[in-house]
Subunit: 220 residues, 2 copies
């Protein structure tokens, strides 16, 4: 194995809970209450799918105008709730270690700029790192496009890549991309949910993952 492809929210930065609450408040404001746990279990999937799933639970379609309002309010509320996203334990150190030891890695996220700029900043990720975002591909997770785009930019084969993520959408996308998925508990999924979605291994967080890089065959 040669490379690690990371999800961002819930994997490298501790942003899942404010994202859930920002969506919960945005939907409630629009007169469409959706429970926190259902939003939580949809974090990290494509925004289009997310809104379709929400519409299914509400039992009606959302208009384009409603979707735009939800997106805008989510972004505003998220920024109010958490102006500076905290890195998850070990994330900054792991990324630094990978850079210093020339272990190939990148980030592939359903998030997008400028929304995710503060996260990249606290992680110390600069232009040296391959970052694939939502707007770089046609379809987001659980489609494999983000991971495949990242893998191609990294110049390695799919079978040589691990995908590291906190959500079942990461693990499903990894399988469809012919990559091995590694689950992290830091996004609030249960361990068995990640294993059932196809995780090859499950670690607590980035710090825990770093302890096992040798067993993953990533150390020289």
């Amino acid at each position: 194995m040669k490379a690690l492809i990371f999800d961002l929210d819930g994997t490298l930065v501790d942003t899942v809970y404010p994202h859930v609450l920002a969506w919960q408040l945005a939907f409630a404001e629009a007169g469409m209450p959706i429970e926190g746990w259902r939003l939580h279990r949809r974090m990290g999937m494509s925004g289009g799918l997310f809104k379709r799933a929400a519409a299914r639970e509400l039992g009606r379609n959302l208009s384009d105008e409603e979707v735009r309002t939800l997106d805008r309010r989510h972004a505003e509320l998220f920024h109010q709730l958490l102006p500076t996203p905290p890195p998850l334990p070990g994330a900054v150190e792991l990324l630094r270690f990978l850079r210093e030891n020339k272990i190939i890695h990148g980030i592939a996220t359903s998030n997008r700029r400028p929304m995710m700029n503060p996260a990249l900043e606290v992680l110390g990720v600069g232009s040296e790192t391959v970052v694939v975002e939502r707007t770089d591909v046609a379809r987001a997770k659980p489609e494999p496009d983000l991971f495949i785009e990242c893998q191609q930019r990294l110049g390695v084969r799919a079978e040589e890549c691990y995908v590291v993520g906190d959500a079942v959408w990461d693990l499903m996308g990894a399988r469809r991309a012919q990559m091995l998925g590694i689950g992290l508990l830091s996004g609030g999924y249960g361990e068995e949910e990640l294993i059932r979605a196809g995780a090859f291994r499950v670690f607590r967080d980035a710090a825990d993952l770093q302890n096992w890089l040798d067993e993953l065959g990533l150390l020289p």
Copy 2:
């Protein structure tokens, strides 16, 4: 089986995610960042145990002054984030059905008044319902005291009670009280986590539970 004893937050009202974020922000303000998922997995346990667990993760004890500040800021932030707690799907209807059909039930929560008054209000729970709160017992969940106090006030035997909760602490407390635990997914735990903690059955939410009251042996 004769009675249902309900947890409150995450079981009847959709408050888990704002509680997590309020704690996350309160700890961060105090210079003690703790990840959202770790706080999430400790929701619903005794406040004393919760702060001891937090201290263990921080690697040092919290002073009484720090604990008071955390409690105060959590309460303030929670109220700002969610002034009116939304009932979870089916919760209001289930409680009404139980009252109308004279099915014995009560609420037993690690929460306390006045913090939980808005939740009881949106649920339509008045003085006709037995509500046991943190201050009524010496020790909160996962100790069985809250459930035993509730069961005694309801005038039934422990073996005749189901405990309905969203957290592993409810299910552990239920087992120690000699009651059967029913897990709900509405607090954001994974199904297997609830089963592993001893859930006799797992339902999505209160609405789903109501569909199965007959199989639980609670309908006349």
